[in-house]
Every structure is written in structure tokens, then in C-alpha cells.
Symmetry: C2
Subunit: 461 residues, 2 copies
Amino acid sequence: MTARRRWLSAAALGVVVAAGAPMALAAAGDSDGYSPQGVSSGDRTAQVRNAIQGGKARNVILFIGDGTGDSEITIARNYAKGAAGRLNLDKLPLTGAYTTYSVAKGDPSKPDYVPDSAATGTAWATGSKTYNGAISVDAYGKPLPTILELAKRNGYRTGDVTTTEVQDATPAVLGSHVVNRDCKGPQSMSTCPSNAKENGGAGSIAEQLVQTRPDVLLGGGKKYFDQTVQGGEFKGQTALDQAAKSGYQIVTDGQGLAKAEKGQPLLGLFASGNMDLQWTGPAAKTGGTEPSTCKPNAALPASQPKLADMTRKAIDLLDSRKRGDKGFFLQVESGSIDKQNHAANPCGQIGETINFDDAVAVGMEYARKNPDTLVVVTADHGHTSQIIPGDVTSPGQTATLVTKDGEPMTINYATNTPGQSQEHTGTQVRIAGYGPQAANVVGVTDQTDLFRTIGRALTLR
Amino acid sequence: MTARRRWLSAAALGVVVAAGAPMALAAAGDSDGYSPQGVSSGDRTAQVRNAIQGGKARNVILFIGDGTGDSEITIARNYAKGAAGRLNLDKLPLTGAYTTYSVAKGDPSKPDYVPDSAATGTAWATGSKTYNGAISVDAYGKPLPTILELAKRNGYRTGDVTTTEVQDATPAVLGSHVVNRDCKGPQSMSTCPSNAKENGGAGSIAEQLVQTRPDVLLGGGKKYFDQTVQGGEFKGQTALDQAAKSGYQIVTDGQGLAKAEKGQPLLGLFASGNMDLQWTGPAAKTGGTEPSTCKPNAALPASQPKLADMTRKAIDLLDSRKRGDKGFFLQVESGSIDKQNHAANPCGQIGETINFDDAVAVGMEYARKNPDTLVVVTADHGHTSQIIPGDVTSPGQTATLVTKDGEPMTINYATNTPGQSQEHTGTQVRIAGYGPQAANVVGVTDQTDLFRTIGRALTLR
């Protein structure tokens, strides 16, 4: 209340104010010592102005929370930090919203109001709208240069990190070009015959990622690297053989990751498919659940690194201040926020949001020490989950979780029939930034503008 | 594509880019000549920096879109402007999100994750969290000074404008203090006995609004002014008599509004209850609707002013540059965005969002000519409506509208059983600003911070 009293005398009106009481909650701040009350009750004009820098960035770290719109952010904050607490991703100084629609296959003049991660990934990675399912190809199926490819061409080191299969849409769009997102390995090309190696194409997502050769490529999806290459130089060998023969050091657990050194590009494959979830808890169901709390996932292999570990290692490997070296471009995705929203699994969803938020803290810690770093934290598209009152009967599936505040929060999943995969939504989503060029996230922009913002920050040509 | 080509050679990678084609949609801009492509593809760092001014404001115009979160904004934009178009409210230069939770009655340490417009109105109007249903009283029922009351005390002229009943939560919180939002007129006090005039209280919302005496009070809710005062000086007369005898000029239609002049405070009551809707169209239903378009509401009385008309007149009456005069505080609400979201009526909801957006244009036009004006555009809380794919079976109610793009958009209402009122949601919502102190909306703040931002802008004491 102190800051408020400086300029407002509550007693001026002659009404009684229960001093401080209704603000006790907000004033409590959160456990890491950040007090939203303290920060935001003063004039932040100078703080926001000081956060604006134009100019060039040496490094860019892009964090993508898959399907992590404002509703998903609020759910994770309420559960893990309390309603008045703050996530790490809340603390980026410059904020806006961007539109995420995709377009029709073969006709980019027609919007599709509910996009998928392939189309939205292509939008931020290439600056062009495309159809749902497209991996860095345009509405007609033609390859588009990606921000990672351009960064590499311009002499930057590059990294691509995810908690899902590295062939999943978000990591895929940075280093591959296929007409269908399902074409993850050399023996999974049925929907992309024109891209198949045996037909003279550039190959599956796994093959193309190795060919694009980011310096760091971390996530799950080993099973697609175990598939056999069907054409070209590596025909008859596995995609993993291709990676090794192309110079990649390959690690498959946290210990291996920790030991990896600079000098060779690094491929980390920590799961056959998607990496395991951090948290478990009750699935949302018709009629709701008992008030519950989330638990650590007992089935999570201790050998799997967390997203923060992968982010820290990626930065360590990419960061070089050797004379003449340029900086780096790094993308870090928490992909199962989306997948668990599809599954109406709130603890899975929240656990992966916190996994994401911990990684954001690592990126921000680096950026604060290296202020020539642009950090952007955003989502690719909106999703289903909504916070609703606990005393109504949703037609969908709900779960009630007891938050850090000790209070019940009911989460609703109702964009598809119970039992079916819940759907993406078409809402605009939050984008937040820190560092050079971050002011370009403020206001209302389109997802394709992010490609230009990053390109401008790194002066890509 | 021009701006992009300046720094990015698409051909550098040797891949073929269908020049311009996938961006044709975005490049088209919208009908008022605003091209999001043109504005946002260049570096906006200087533009954002220039939008930041600290200092004092002479005037504050606060626009509240009731229940108008990012999803509702996107729905209205897609329908009325196209996916790549821009609303007027999109064009405010500084943006953020704020948290909206309320607290338990009698225990402000306990958050309630799904707030109502009474608690959220009290939050932005008084700077304190309270319980759902509370009209500018704290969690214990004690009155809290409001930003309008403080502005008035500090010599500012004040206005309070809505499309709902003027006794509805949002307009009510600025000039009344009752323990239950339903206590709208002197004969509707059953849930607020302690506030009733006959019990020595300050009276109903209608009575208290007159007693607070904003210079301009416009909206619906005449029926509560037709109720008979039960105690005090005006006992036995109607609340409307009370208003007239207190010096209010009273108008009941657009013609009357147009003729109103400065000198006396103005009470405009343009409907018995809420004002009528701008648009009609198919209600969302189980199983969905045929693709449809919205129509003007044929039942809308021609005599009812639009929100833009009320806003323009309010500004005309409040604006004074006479020597020694201070500026004004004006609140403008589009309240039926929320009510039609509750009713699962997408055209009603969108029509009121456009009604709101047209009013925002009036406010921004004034502010651009009078740059000592702070404009804030925000919502009070999130709501139900979501954009989902057209080919899924929602468990709730959906409607499919054909947008300005000529494409179908499916809107889902599924937070309560079909036939029941749809529910608010607990998501953080957008806040946007222009003018002195507007930088304080950037980042993640709480709704209570808005009270402090406005108070600081007007240097209220």
C-alpha cells in the first residue's frame, strides 16, 4: 500500500478503507522474491523505455510454448506460483499479441482460422503463411528459406531444442521442407512422395535436419533416426548412421549431454518418441474430478535431461567469444504443453509449462549477462484449456486442481467430444521480448513478423 | 515483400520462393487503408519508443470491453475486418496483459480464479481486490473510494457511459458502493439491506450514482430510475425525480442527447434495461449452424444512440479548455459483448465488439488531437467463446459465420451445459494504452494496477 499512499489519500473521501487487507494476497509476492505489487505499483515508464533498444543482436534465443496462449499461461501461473505470483516468462519487459491464422493449401488468399504448429512454425520460421501440415513449404508446396538456415548462411551457430520428437513440427520447420508434417523418417514418407530421397527429394525431416546441420539438435524422436535411408549417398544405412558420418556427436542421455564438447555438432536423442512428462495427475473427465494436486512423474527416466538442462548446454556449446566468431540462433520448444492440452491432462500440461518456464529462466539469465541477446517467448497458437467456475456442469471434461494458493481451480476442455483429441483455437497469443529489437513484439503483429524481427536483429541477408 | 527484401535475399539458399504469394492475404491490409504488413514489417523500435511518455495526463478515457479477452477480439477481427485486418483497438501502441482474479468474501487472502464484472470493476476502479458481486466495497463490505470519485474531488469532470443498464456492474463501480451488484434501484434492495436508504444506507446503485454526480452518465436502466425512493430526502419520489431535482438534465433518445448542452450534468437513459443489440444472427447450437452472416438488428430503435455517439457527446461535454479548468475522466463500456457471450450469440457478441471498437476510434481521434490524453482499452475478464475447427463435434454449442474474408469461422461456447448461461473464464486479458503513463500497461500487471496508473496520470491525491 505504501506506493499508493504516496499519491492517493484514501481517507480523502471520508470512506473507511480496510487498509492493506484486500491487497494482502497481491502484496505477498511469490517465493522467488519477486513482488508484483512492488514492481508494478510504481511508475514503470522509465523501466519500459529502458527496455527498448534497437540495433543488432549478437544472439537470438526463441522460446516456443506449443499451444501456450494466455489461458494456458494463467493456468500454470495460478497452479505453480499462485494468482499473484509470477512465472519467469511473465518477467520479460516488452509484450504484445500476434495473430496465428494459416491459409488454404493451394490458395494463400484464403485464411484458415485455426492453425496447426506446422503452419505457424513455418510462419515464424520463414515469414510466410502456409497451410496446416506444411513444414517450411509455401501454400503450393515449394520450399521457403528458414531463419535457422539463413542464420547459418550468415555465419551464426545454430541450435534447435525440443521436448518432443526433433521431427515434430516446431523443431522441423527450422531445418526441413516437406509437404506433410508426418514425414518424419526415411520410411515414413507415404504422404510426401515428392520429398522422398528415392524420388530425388531432399528426404524426410530427420534426414533434412542432419543435412541442414544445426550445431545443436536436441529432443526425442530416436525411432525415426533408426529408420533406413531409402536413397542417395546413405542408402541402406540408418538416418543415425547418416548423422554420425556427417560429423555429429550423438548422445542419448543426460550424462552424455553433460559431457558433450564443442568442436563437432551435437545430436541428442533422449527418447524414442516424445520425451517423458514432468508431472502426472488426474485426467479431466466428464462431470469433473475431486480436487487434486499434480505429482512428479514417477515414470520419468532419471537419464532424461529437463528442458532447462538442454537449454543451458545448448547455450554453452553455441556461445563463443572467439575473435571473429558471430553469435548464435537458438530455438527452444516445450512441445508437450500442446500435446497434453490435446489429451485434456492438466497436470501434464502445467508440468510442461513449468519445464518451459525453467528453460526461459536459463535463457534470461544468459541474456542479462549478455545484453546483446534478443530473447523472445511466445506460443505458436492457442489451445483448448479454460479456467471456469467449479460449480457449473461443463459439457466437456474438467479437472479441479488445488493450487499453490491452497484454492481449487477448475480447468475445462471442451473443444471436441470427450475422448477425442481436444482442438487448437484461433485466438491471438502473447509474444514477449527482451533485448535488441524486442520492441517489435509490442502491439498487434502477425506471426510472420517474428521472422523479420529476428532477421533484422541478426542482420541476415 | 519489399521491406523484407532489403535485408533478406530469399534466393540466397537456392530454394524457390513463390514471391509474394503466401503473403498476399496479409499484404492486402484492411478497408480503412491500414496495412499491417506495411506497418509491422519495418523496424518499429523508434515508433514504440516514441509512444512512451511519462508525465501527467489532462484527460483519461478508459474503454472496457466486458468479457472481451484475446479470443473475443480475434473473433471480432476475423469476422469484421478479416484475419489480416485490424480493429481500432488493435492500433494502440503499448500493450500488455493483466490478471483478473477476485477474492473470497470475508477473506481476501483466498483468490477466486473466475471473477465477475463487479469484482473486476472494483479492482480497476478502486485498486483493491474484492469478492464477486461486490460494487466498490472491499472483501468485508466496506466502501472503497473510486477513481471517478477521486477524480471529481481533485477537480476533474467525469463521465460514465455504457451500453447496458447504468446500474450494471461496470458503470456502477465508479459511483456506488453496495454489497451486492443486484441492488440497482431503491425497490431492489433485498440483497443489500445495510445499503438501503430506509436503513440509513447510501441507497441503491441508481440513487448513489446520482449522489456521486458524474457530469455525464449514459446508458440503459431507466426502469430502476422509475422505482420509488424508500427513505431520506427524496422518499416517495422516483429516483428519476431525485436526479432531476439534483440538477441533472435528463434525455432518453439520440435526439435529446444531441441537443444536450454544457452547464448541467447529463443523465441519458436510452432503454428500460440494457440497450438493444447492434447485430443479430444465428444462436450457437448443439451440432452447429449452417454457415451464416450477421445482420443489422431490425428491432434496434433508431432513437438509440450508438456507443460511438455517446462517447463523442460525452467528450464534447467533458472537454473544456477554459482557463483554470482541469481535464476529465471518462469510462466507456460495451457491456453486452459479455452478455451475448453468456447467451452463446456470436453475432450479438461481435456486433457489440464492433460497437465498442467504433467508440475506441472516437476516443483515439480525440487523443491524437489532444496528446495530453491517456487512453486505455482493456477487458474486465475473459469469457467462453473460442475459434475451433469447423469439422469437429463440440460437446457445447457452435455457430459458423462467414467472415469478411469469405471463409467460414466456427465459434464454440462450451463452459456450461447447452441452454445455461455460458461462464466467464479466468484467463489474463489484454490491456492497451496510448498517451501519458501508458507504458504502465506493458508486461504482466494486475487489474488493480490500472487504478494506480490512472491515478498517477491525473496526479490524484
